[in-house]
Symmetry: C2
Subunit: 347 residues, 2 copies
């Protein structure tokens, strides 16, 4: 689309005002000069109120959405923009789909600096490019100062599931190995550190990343994958409980096998947090028959987003759908759902 | 999904708290007992982080999104929930697609009454059923009191475009008739009245409605439709300017032909508003060759959402892409883009 307006947005010094959400000239200017420029692709450039996208054959779609309200907006290892792409790419890819297209809906608070918005939008564009997806349609709303918190972003994602791929929580069965793709707690601790102004000797970066490449490699391995899930809000503990309940099975974990960085472990000990309940944004949990777990683990370790993957437990028959753990001291404990709130606004 | 928890949500007296967004037990309870119950369908009931949806054949998707931040949340003729369904159903359907699936992302402010949320969610479910679409995937976030304004909702929508259907702003050409499906300004005036506590002898209701049934009838008529658009934020004037610019044509309107309710006209005169710039949420603008406009008009008038449809102007050659209007007094005036802000947070 050609630039509709002679005057340029003052991105360096400008701020979002109510006219940027009015549907009029200022909104069109913001869309042209910021969003359309950063996300440039043929579907978006058509300038319709919806994207039209070609589906090559009959088959199955995966469709998912998340809103992102993380605070602070910028953190070590990412910002709300890259997170909004990675999170939804992952939710689509965890079905075994190849993620292709994202929508992006922005809710902006009046007064938000355009320079910060540009930085966020640029991160989204880069994350989308890295993941091989296009942001094909979008929306911008503005609310009065004090009625939002800088910027909230919703992304929805659509992908195609190849014939024969069948990943679902309902496929999990007793005898499956439980594999985690890497260390736990990095995202939550990085965000909390930013929020609280904590400084570490060894900086902790968010693990925010698109996992579709890793998943593609896992699907190509020939291993019988049963289910994938990402342990975001509520952490590994809550994800496993949800899955155990949905699948009607129990799970047994080995605490010593669960990878956690020393720095993350240290922060958790000081603050009384449990890494099992902390959000991750670039990790997945995989379930496959135990006899194939070694092969899957090797494939995962060969990928940049899985090089610290580990087998952390097994699925057992249990009508109560309990998740239990053998601790490093050799004892046993229940791993319950997150009951209250560990860290608010982590994604 | 069976109810995972013995205790019920106290919907009558309860309020949203931060644990409802934590990813833990309280969030699962809210999802099970409110969202999943209201939106019940097979894809949602699978309990995965994404919906899996069958595409019967190769073809084209339409994909669109909108966030809804309307204030107040409840207004004469609808609420944010029904609006969030209608708006996105319409954005998908205006491509000529049959809308099938929606996602729903909720951003809730801590302290928001669960009874109000239930009312909104129930309206969404009813609107979706009326439009023949399913809400197949969703997300819930909670932010601290004062960091949002009750509830914001994002919906994204996916539909299938039948072979041979080709509606796009780029198809508009000189000689096309411009048709509006009904009266202008009802939604904006209804919301403003609610906001300002205005009372009319004749109540003005929002026109919020799903237009996919009307569009289906228009497509089935055999008329060569060139493009459809809904005049939401910025109103008819801004939509036509956007389309004129994108298509590289001019437009000439006849003010006397543009339908506006007497009550809406009265409010606009008193408050100095122009109905051409006020948002509509259940109206569409259609473009087709002038010689087929009579036939299309008859089809539209035969539908409940088009019975006040009218031919309001024509497309002309104009390199400047100006939208001009013959006024009721016989003069001519430019109809410009909305430059500032007519009514904030109207959708």
């Amino acid at each position: 689309m050609t630039n509709r307006f002679e005057r340029s947005l003052d991105i360096k010094n400008g701020r979002v005002d109510m006219t940027h959400g009015s549907g009029g000239r200022a909104m069109a200017q913001l869309i042209d000069q910021l969003f359309a420029k950063a996300f440039d692709n043929p579907a978006l450039a058509e300038g319709n109120d919806q994207a039209r996208l070609a589906i090559p054959a009959a088959g199955r779609l995966a469709f998912s959405t998340d809103s992102y309200v993380i605070s602070p907006l910028f953190f070590a290892g990412g910002n709300i923009g890259s997170l909004a792409v990675h999170g939804t790419v992952n939710d689509v890819a965890l079905s075994g789909a190849k993620p292709l297209w994202l929508s992006a809906g922005f809710i902006l608070e009046e007064g938000f600096p355009l320079a910060d918005l540009e930085c966020i939008v640029t991160s989204m564009a880069k994350a989308a490019q890295d993941c091989g997806v296009q942001i094909v349609t979008g929306d911008t709303k503005v609310v009065e100062k004090g009625k939002a918190d800088g910027v909230f972003i919703n992304t929805a994602g659509v992908g195609l599931i190849e014939a024969g791929v069948d990943l679902s929580v309902h496929n999990i069965r007793a005898g499956d190995a439980i594999i985690i793709s890497g260390t736990l707690g990095d995202h939550g601790v990085a965000v909390m550190a930013q929020r609280e102004g904590l400084v570490f000797d060894e900086p902790v970066l968010s693990d925010s990343a698109g996992l579709n490449g890793l998943i593609e490699a896992m699907l190509a391995s020939g291993v019988t994958l049963h289910a994938l899930r990402d342990p975001t809000r509520g952490g590994l503990a809550t994800s496993l409980n949800e899955m155990a309940q949905a699948a009607g099975v129990g799970m047994r974990l080995d605490e010593a096998a669960i990878p956690v960085r020393a720095a993350v472990r240290g922060v958790c000990e000081i603050l009384g947090l449990d890494p099992l309940y902390i959000a991750n944004e670039g990790k997945l949990i995989a379930f496959c028959p135990a006899q194939q777990a070694g092969k899957l683990l090797a494939v995962m370790r060969g990928h940049v987003h899985g090089h610290e993957a580990a087998i952390i437990g097994e699925v057992v028959e249990d009508d109560h759908a309990f998740v239990e753990m053998t601790t490093t001291l050799g004892g046993h404990r229940m791993v319950d759902w997150l009951a209250g709130e560990q860290l608010p606004r982590i994604c």
